[in-house]
Amino acid sequence: MTGRLLTLHLRSRGATMFVVGVGVIALLAWAAGTWLASRPYFDGPAARVPVVALAPLLAALLLGPTLAGADEDLDRSTPLPWRAWRAGHLLVAAFVTAMALSVAGLRAPDTYGAHALVRNALGCIGLVAGGAVLLGGRLAWLPAFGYVCAVYAAAPRQTSVVVAAWAWPIQPSTKTASWLTAATIFAAGTAGYVHGGCRARSTGAP
């Protein structure tokens, strides 16, 4: 029965599209990373910063719509242990995303490769989960999109710990502070989502 319920749950949240999307993104990330790393006028694998920053963001954006059901109020009125379901949903999705993306960066994994991809996947998913809690499923993408774009645009030239902490999406994976921030964001987003779930559908957006 749980198996059947699981299938229905995944279908109701559009899991197929998410999985296909993540696969496509991983493929594109691998292709783009290889292309960038092989350009003679760049500095090898370290040229993969755009891939490392943007591929996890794209994957996390796709995760956004799966975090909410068609009618959140209706879902909540059912006796299902939703916290467990939400926790499972998010953790499995994070695992799938991180694994798929890390495959794209296996060559030189520590210079803007697999490690940084995993870190950014966690951070972006945390942001999207937090966005879902605060803004609802339809706008869950907004905080992650805004934040990563802003950091990427800023491209700070300094290398202090504070910068490594706030500009985590574009740090090399050897910076501990970036991992701490990304992990904190992921933990906070997951906790918020598991505890509160998506903000119930409101008609506030245009």
């Binding site: 409101s202 008609t203 506030g204 957006a205 245009p206």
Partner: protein, 251 residues
């Protein structure tokens, strides 16, 4: 005088044929459109609202052939439509929403402010006119939808289940509005509430299984029913009798 005529209408969604060879004529007045679920009421409404292109058949609205783009635009200017599932922009106020539709209906700009106020007043929403749509209750939204439909003083008004979600008092007011509109407008009201038909309609059309099975005065529908038929009111008895008769008669 016939304002709306439908001749040999055929509509299908993929393989499922909804209408095949439907004929219908409507003149000025309030026409009720009755029928069981899935009978094709909404489909007919959508064809008349020029939203759904029929596969075959001739549709004339207010003297315009809707196949011709210029005539279609003419017809649409004199059309009011409230769909069954009614979408709205939550951040708009009622006034802005109605104003926006007045613009979409190509009303002369000078006439818009007055027409908007009048339409909102006729549905009794004037004191909520500057509230955002997202703060309105279901019945109020429905009334805002009706205001949008009547803002251009349409000569053909199509209301798909307009009374759903209205409380009894509002329904009484709404019927009065319908009667007033029916004096110089073709109003087609699709509904499941047969009392509305008795109270407000000058004529009744009953569709079932893609056919027009009855058209006539409400009294004629009432007269069709006998005391032995199922139903709690005379018109309900007439309704079930006509439907049963149509289903048993050979096609």
């Amino acid at each position: 005088m016939t304002m709306v005529s439908v001749d040999g209408l055929r509509v299908s969604y993929g393989k499922r044929v909804v209408f095949d060879g439907l004929d219908l004529e409507l003149g000025v007045g309030v026409h009720g459109l009755l029928g069981p679920n899935g009978a094709g009421k909404t489909t007919l409404m959508r064809v008349l609202a020029t939203v759904l292109r029929p596969d075959r058949g001739e549709v004339r609205l207010l003297g315009h052939h809707i196949g011709d783009p210029a005539a279609l635009r003419q017809a649409r200017r004199q059309l009011g439509y409230l769909p069954q599932t009614f979408g709205f922009y939550p951040r708009f106020t009622v006034r802005e929403f109605v104003e926006y539709f007045a613009w979409l209906k190509e009303m002369p700009p000078a006439r818009i402010p007055l027409a908007v106020d009048r339409a909102i007043e006729r549905v009794g929403l004037l004191e909520r006119a500057d509230d955002r749509m997202k703060h309105l209750s279901g019945g109020m939204l429905r009334r805002a939808g009706i205001a949008q439909a009547i803002v251009n003083d349409p000569r053909l008004l199509l209301l798909d289940e307009p009374t759903a979600g209205l409380d009894p008092e509002q329904r009484v007011q709404f019927r009065a509005l319908l009667r007033e509109l029916g004096l110089d407008t073709v109003v087609l009201v699709s509904t499941h509430l047969v009392e509305d038909v008795v109270a407000a309609c000058t004529r009744v059309n009953l569709v079932d299984g893609g056919r027009l099975v009855f058209t006539g005065l409400p009294d004629e529908l009432i007269a069709a029913g006998g005391d032995g038929d199922s139903g709690d009111s005379p018109i309900e008895r007439g309704y079930t009798t006509v439907l049963r008769g149509a289903r048993t008669a050979p096609r």
